[in-house]
Symmetry: D2
Subunit: 348 residues, 4 copies
């Protein structure tokens, strides 16, 4: 087949280097362009020596025109950048996959409140497809703009998805206690994310409100076609990669067997290449998905209370960002969805 | 004052070396004896070079008679050992502080079920005092046997304590999502706790049931004088020391202000030397209590749901084990409770 | 082409799971058999959930006959096991790649002294090929037994190799100060390698003598055809994967330019797919080769002394063990040497 | 005795918080003033919650006059700040302990070259005392300015000190391969020191030249009264605290016994409260001195070469910075040198 011409906006952060790691060995991708204001002129493999021998590309200064020749453009920038490029890319017939949040929230007012800025192209939000293939595979195929999901929303949505429409649990009282590795905090210079600040320590943050809360509730409410009640508490854990979501819900009928819930999950994800429902009794560790696009899910009834507990783990940089973006690109381009995403997790 | 003659049963594990770290600089303690079957004859400072210059003691083979001269004996062994020594120690007039679980659960049948063995002295359990000073200070003063609390129960109980009797929350639906550093898993040779198994990874464990569940419910139920409903899920996080408990409960009246709950906590812990209620908005990290006997607590209403979230952090080896044991000893011996526990946390 | 039938002896350790990670996606390998005494009957993906979906194989009890159908057998066991299987495998026409040390040292007496046991088949040692492709590529092609190099010897030999025959440095005074991640210590249950023993700490070990010393001196002496003098000090560093070798030597002529040494290295490794000589000024970090088969090398003159310093980094489980073993298999089977080894390093 | 009035310039970095940790429990210190341009007005315990309950002090804007009432002022700022305060402090009769490098190098031209700025008070450099008590205890007693040693220089100098004047080794060819925890890189916002950049990885840096090289050679040359030849290579290791120096030298007479060298070290450090010469055969890990002011030293002859290897470990924030500064203050004020420095290392 004709190679897919791919451009990247940004790409100096961790989702950027992960995207490059996946794309440089993708058999159908021709990486044509990568922009960065701060690193313009610098070879990519100079900034990320791990990529030496895999690409000769250098960062170039942002220039929208240059993307005109691309089939797909990934935006791996901070929030608020992709939306300033979207209109022109679309007009050039280029399809955009935004790894940031610009097109994730359908209610623009809600988006503007959480992200603290005016949206640059609110008229494009409705047509953007939320790129969780397990939810929106068909729509992704035709999408012009894919809003690649956030890391917490990916792990949490996949863990709650079979439940919300099952009628088995009280959707008004869902709790997501989530833990993230530090790469989730990005590659910007900051005291808060120094090794010496976060190593050998653990903390919650943003308990009173986090941007991923409206994204998750939007996902679950859309599926249910009714509002859900969600408590969402994120934590920072001293590891590089990984999201562990511990998800609590109350079974409406305490006699519901764990086996039946397990069956429900297995059916839901039967044909999904990147969701693995574990046997009963399992406790997935985040390293079991390290550097892979897999989401692993386990189910328990909590001792004492009988509350239903779903454990859902992903690699925040892969299934939680760049891997899912490549999965979306594969779908958009009619490729096998798992192309370039088939390597086994790196353990340990 | 006359020095307190102290003996230690066991002491080759992490709670043991932490106990030694605190006791070797305690101004009123004379460390007289430390036993270990496996390390008999070996100087303590040879096993733990961090203690070179602090003690000349060597491990000796277990010999109950030798403890006769002690005022206080700490048992820092695995579960099931202290109970085999208790009767003879009591008869010799020695007071016992057990850092393991032998005397924590009042219902012996429940204990035997969770710990998988017959209790060696069930008749002594009733008189043993559960050594959480914030709950039982007066009783500790006179105790002959102190059951030093578990690490998860310490962080969780202190976090829920002011709430359970407040009438503000639904005590039938409490959730404790707890995270522990790896020292909590002990110093025994095991594949599961190898660096290469737990570093750079995160997991839940024992979701279907954990020994600390009955201990926590016992604490809260005793305070409330009624049963509570608790979901308890422990996790292993790649750090050495620290417990982070994220505690969820539903406010019965959603108009209850966070300020009023904060005031309740401040009142409860006003005179406690080792419980620090943080200002509103704070997110304590576990390193803020590293190597110290402090418990720090913060309060939030979760964004979106309004659920009450209590964050409670301790060092599992200090307030969660050896530090609390020394605190109990100080109380038992009529000393200032904070003696030898006044150093500032080590940060970072 | 006809698939290569591959068997694995052992495979429950870290080199085993790394070997599996690489082989399960190797396009020309048919994994037919994996043995383990302790895990017989257990599915591989049950022990290592990271491999779920990649293999249905279960461990079987050791049975040499079963390997008869294999083309290649990897031995990923502790030292001393492969040699007990070698004779029978050879007689069955099976080619053996031993990831342990049984066939690395040509002088059997030296081997027996360092490994503390009698060699089971000393007569096979001479014909075994030391599987460092950069040294012995031609011999590997025809080898019946490949002694896969140790991790320290790989990083150290590749770093010193161009120098020893160059006449530029004093080969009587080479110093290798080497640092290893913890997976190098294996997956056996041991107190010494617990997370709580090695995290957040650093130490040297075996300064008075380490098994890899004779292996490295054998490599360098063979190349030079004369003895070399080597000081070798290994250290344990709190990370999962990676070897960093800091190699010191004295330039015989202090006027020798760093540029000329750099050129020497570039020439030596010009056509090597897995040795990357970095530009002058670089300091490779071990993560730049994480989960990859690459060795990166940088050169410096030390400030003040002008001593030549070579920095050489590998992933101990990949180029230092399983990756190199697959590289050797590829060479033995006439495949492109990089087959299944082309993925980019995982960063971070 | 009258309390020592102490002021701190800076104190928002890791040496600052370590200094505070030690001083808040010092029985003879009255902490009167701490300045910070960036944090002026903020309570110290708000920036560092670990200090809640230990001090009510708030940072104030820099104002030299305010230090007039102090007996001792610690400068815990970046390089180049203390020298701008020194003249006025001295004129006010205040004694200065600089934890940065402003007064460490006697040759001002060399200092200016390495630190890239003009010295603000070159005339004061000669009288400043290099505050390594093991070298300069008597001079420290009377010092008006103490140049507190760097972390690498402390570990390296203490490890080489007994050797350089012993006549046993070739002082023209000393090698110091040193490894530091990440707190040594400071608390400034930087990409290079993010958790996600340095965790699970290891690297050398500044091989071609590091500021601590001239400091170490100055120390050793002064003792020897002749030049020494030193190769110094620093590395960054993924841990919070700790320096591990691996020190190589050639015995002039290969028959020199390790026992005799050991005796030499024991004699040198016989009366030192903070240098611990370990028994032969030991390999100190950095955690054995965590959060303590101790330096532990072990000696080996390297297998194969017979080269003398000294292992020297300290906590870079304590003996390598704040602890040594307090030790110096104690000496300057006629106190027992170990006051407030007697706690046992925190292990693990």
């Amino acid at each position: 087949m004709k190679p897919i011409k791919v451009g990247i906006i940004g790409g100096t952060g961790y989702t950027g280097v992960e995207l490059l790691r996946l794309l440089v060995v993708h058999p159908h991708v021709e990486l044509t362009l990568i922009t960065s204001r701060s690193e313009a002129g610098r070879p990519v493999a100079d900034l990320f020596p791990s990529l030496r021998g895999f690409t000769d590309l250098a960062f170039t200064a942002p220039d929208e025109g240059a993307f005109r020749e691309c089939d797909i453009v990934f935006s791996a920038t901070p929030n608020g950048i992709a939306m300033t490029h979207a209109r022109q890319l679309l007009e050039s017939g280029v399809r955009l996959i935004d790894l940031a949040a610009d097109f994730r929230i359908k209610d623009v007012a809600v988006w503007e409140q959480w992200y603290g800025m005016a949206h640059a192209c609110p008229e494009l939000v409705a047509d953007a497809v939320y790129g969780l293939p397990e939810l929106n595979r068909e729509a992704v195929k035709q999408a012009h703009i894919v809003a690649n999901p956030g890391c917490y929303p990916t792990a949490t949505t996949l863990g709650f998805l079979p439940l919300v429409t099952s009628g088995l649990v009280d959707v008004a009282d869902l709790v997501a206690d989530t833990k993230s590795g530090v790469t989730g905090a990005g590659r910007g210079a900051s005291v808060a994310n120094l090794y010496s600040e976060v190593a050998d320590s653990f903390k919650a943050y943003a308990v009173a409100g986090h941007r991923h809360h409206p994204e998750i509730t939007q996902n679950l409410s859309l599926v249910l076609n009714a509002p859900v009640g969600l408590t969402f508490v994120p934590h920072l854990t001293p590891m590089l990669r990984g999201i562990h979501a511990t998800l609590y819900s109350n079974l409406l009928d305490s006699n519901t067997s764990l086996e039946s819930v397990h069956q429900l999950f297995e059916q839901q994800y039967e044909n999904e290449p990147f969701v693995d429902v574990l046997p009963l009794g399992a406790h997935p560790d985040t390293r079991s998905v390290k550097a892979s696009n897999m989401c692993r899910i386990a189910l328990h009834k909590a001792g004492g209370s009988g509350k239903l507990v779903v454990l859902s783990v992903i690699d925040n940089l892969t299934k939680g960002a760049a891997g899912q973006a490549v999965q979306n690109m594969n779908i958009m381009c009619g490729l096998d969805e798992a192309t370039a995403l088939r390597s086994a997790p790196v353990l340990p």
